[in-house]
Subunit: 309 residues, 2 copies
Amino acid sequence: MSNILIFGHQNPDTDAITSAISYAYLNQKLGLEVEAVALGAPNEETEYALAHFETDAPRVIKNAAAETQEVILVDHNEFQQSVSDIRDVTVLAVVDHHRIANFETADPLYYRAEPVGCTNTIIYKLYQEKGIEIPKKIAGLMLSAIISDTLLFKSPTCTDEDVKAAKELAKLADVDTEKYGLEMLKAGTKLSNKTADELLDTDAKSFPLGDKNVRIGQVNTVDVGEVIERQTELEAAMAEQNSKNGYDLFLLVITNILSSDSVALAVGDSKDKVEAAFNTKLENNTAFLKGVVSRKKQIVPPLTEAFNK
Amino acid sequence: MSNILIFGHQNPDTDAITSAISYAYLNQKLGLEVEAVALGAPNEETEYALAHFETDAPRVIKNAAAETQEVILVDHNEFQQSVSDIRDVTVLAVVDHHRIANFETADPLYYRAEPVGCTNTIIYKLYQEKGIEIPKKIAGLMLSAIISDTLLFKSPTCTDEDVKAAKELAKLADVDTEKYGLEMLKAGTKLSNKTADELLDTDAKSFPLGDKNVRIGQVNTVDVGEVIERQTELEAAMAEQNSKNGYDLFLLVITNILSSDSVALAVGDSKDKVEAAFNTKLENNTAFLKGVVSRKKQIVPPLTEAFNK
C-alpha cells in the first residue's frame, strides 16, 4: 500500500482526529489517494462525536515509513508531537493553527496555517475554495472539533471565522450546536473512572519558564468538586511526577466548561509565581481563576511573565 | 512609524522585490497598514521590470526592530535569509514557495506556502480569493517575477498554476510575455561589467546542510563561457568569502537561460558531497549539470540528501 497518510498529533483530541478525516475526504474528492489515520485512540469526547455521526475511528499507526513515503500533517507541525519516524518520510502538506517550531522539510510543500481556533475552520475554507460539498457526517465531525477547541465559542482562542464556519457546518450537519455541543463536551468529562495519573496526563504539556521546568495539565469538567474531592490523591501523584520527571512545579488547571472558570491546583516550588501571575493567594494549594479557560492564552503568558521577573 | 513591514529575502531577486510590492498592495486594500521594503537594492533584471512598469524600488532596510514590532515575509522563511534581527520581531504572516527550515514562531500565524514556481503565483490566487482587482503596473511586476523564477516557463519548478497566472497577468499588464520576458531576462545577464564578488552575490543564499554551512550562488547568462573565463578570479573570491563568512563550501551555479543547462563551480570542503549529489566528477572544480536550472528543485534537495548521508 502506498497511500498518502494524513494524521493529527499524538494524544489526539477531537480536532486532531476529525481534521484527518475531513481533510482526507477533501483530498480524495480532488483525486489524491489518501487515508486518514491517527497517532492514538480517540478520547471519550471524540468517541461521542464519532458515534453521533456514525463514523469509524481512524486506524492507529505507530510509525509511517513502513507503509508510505508521503504524509500530510493536520493540527500540528512540531516533529516531537508527530509520528515517531516523521524524519524518514516526506511531508507533502500541513494544515494547522499552531505556532511553527521544530519543523523542516527538504522540499517545497503546501502549508496552510491561520491563527484561528480550530484546524477544521481552515479546512472548511479549503472546501469552499475548491467548491467541494461537505457531506453531513463530515460536517458534524468538523463542527464537533470547533466546539471542542473553542469550548463552545467561549475560549479566547475563538475567532469570528470559527463561529462563522460552525454556523454553516451546523446547518449541513443538521444539529442544534448548543445542545449537541454541551452533550459532547460532557461526554469528555467523565473523570471519576480515571486514575490520578490519567487525570494529570489527559492534556499535559511541559514549559520551560524562567529557569524552571513547569508542567501544566488541564482537565475539563462540569463538576469541579468531583475533581477537588480527590485533592490528596492528586497532590501525591503530582509530587511523584515532579520528582520522577524533574518538574519544578506542577499546575493542574481544572476547568468548568459550564461556567468558563477554572480552579488551579499547584504542587512544587515557585508557588509564589502562580500567586503573582494570577494576582491571587493560594489556599490549601488551590486558587479560583475567574474566566480562565485557555492555557495558551490565559495561563502560559502570565506565568511566563511572573517567572521572568 | 509602526507600519507592518513586508519584505523578501536578502540579495533580492525579482520575485523577492515584487512579491513585497504586490502583497503589500493587497493588504493595504484589505485595510492593513503595511509597507513594502527590501533587504537590498534591485538587481539589473528587477530594475528593468520596475522601470518598464514605472514603479519605484522599495526602501532598503538593514534591520526591522527599530521601526516595527511586526513583519510579513514573502518569498522566503529561513531566518538566515531574512532581516538580521528577525528574532526580535513578530512574524505575522508568510507567503512563500520554498521548503520550510530554520523558521519558528512563538505564536500562531498566517502561513501560506504552495509548491509552485513563484511567490507571485500564490499572491495572484490570494487576490482572486479576496476579490481584489490587480492594477496594471502591479500585474506587470507579478508577471515579471513568474518569468524570472520560471525562466520563461522552462524551469522544472514551473507548474500549470504559474502558466495560468502568467497568462491572466499578461492580459492585465497588456504585454507580450515572450518578447518582454526575453528582454527582461537578458537585462539581468550583463555580467561582464561585474566584479567577481558582485557575480557571487547576485543571487546567493546560505543553507545549513548536514553540519556544514553551504553558500549557493546562481547567475543567469546567455554565454556561460564569459563567466568560466574568469574562473581563477572567481575561485579566489569564493575562497575569501568562505574564510571571511564561515562558509564550508561555496557553489556557484552558472545557468544558461537559452539552453536550460548549468555549470557548477565548487570551492571549499565537502566537494565529494557535490559529486555524490549530482552523480558526477568535478574536473578543475567544475561540473556540467545537464537540464539543471533550479536551485530549489534540482540543487538543494540532492545536496541535502548527500550531506545527510
